[in-house]
Symmetry: C2
Subunit: 174 residues, 2 copies
């Protein structure tokens, strides 16, 4: 219990919460296990829960290009993905946007080793916001900041890509 | 007053708030006027307030490419920007990420006609979250959803751009 409180306090999502408030959050956390190679969430699937890594290492796999390919093109498709490895030391939270609204997962998360996560369901989260609005406010402020940091990063990526594209198009023969 | 309550209730940010809760928000709103052609916020500047359009039309100007240009390149730079016109019927909110953290404006907003806005300062907003956490929760949930919708759009743009770039690079002679 003590260890789990510390883990949650280290995440971006539950930062600034008191021990009492973390205990309320723990009330809606469910421990789930995934074996090596198992898929925790799949890009494109609709999800309704977030995951906090407690033990193990995962791989984040994200498409770089639009793909609508047959089985034969699988190797080609893999070339167009990015992979990042994340372990429990990161205190990473996955799928947090699912707490806000029903939407498709934007990346695939796959267990590299056996893993243990905390899972929080959207409905439980929204109920907590209603019953404990002081914790709710803090968590939502953190969540909004996490999403806004990712938006800033995505905006920068868009500008970089448009810049590269404009250079490539200018240099290629017409 | 009645009209202002209705305007706020129509925005994405203050959706689902009761009339009493909207009145609390109005307590931290300050009416500000901008003349035709005046800049409301400038891309790259650090801001600490959001704006809700009440009267008039504005233009949103956003860089498409990284630009670090001299005066002579101004016309070229303008080619690399996108313009969108928005009027009061949209009930648009600008600069909402400034309520979450100190960060650079991601677009320039310029008055096309004389305009009236509500301005909300970050510090007043964060104080409201603390004193009225029930309204705070609702607003933060709305805000997080607005930011997450923009993130989804930005992620889609990134994938589209990478796809175009991969096609262009494949087709151009090596």
């Amino acid at each position: 219990m003590e260890k789990d409180i510390l883990v949650l306090q280290e995440t971006d999502l539950f930062r600034n919460l008191s021990i009492e408030q973390i205990k309320t959050v723990l009330g809606i956390c469910r421990k789930v296990k995934f074996s090596e190679h198992e898929i925790i969430m799949k890009e494109g699937d609709v999800g309704d829960s977030l995951y906090i890594i407690l033990e193990g290492t995962v791989e984040v796999i994200k498409s770089l290009v639009i793909s609508d390919l047959g089985e034969d093109d699988y190797r080609e498709a893999l070339k167009n993905k990015v992979f990042t490895k994340i372990d429990e030391k990161s205190h990473a939270v996955f799928g947090e946007i699912a707490l806000l609204e029903e939407c498709k997962r934007t990346a695939t998360i796959r267990a590299v080793t056996d893993c243990i996560f905390y899972e929080i369901k959207k409905d439980d989260f929204l109920r907590l916001m209603e019953t404990d609005s002081i914790s709710g406010c803090k968590i939502l402020l953190n969540l909004a900041r996490v999403v806004s940091a990712r938006l800033r990063k995505a905006d920068e990526d868009t500008i970089k890509l448009t810049t590269v594209l404009s250079i490539v198009l200018r240099e290629s023969p017409s």
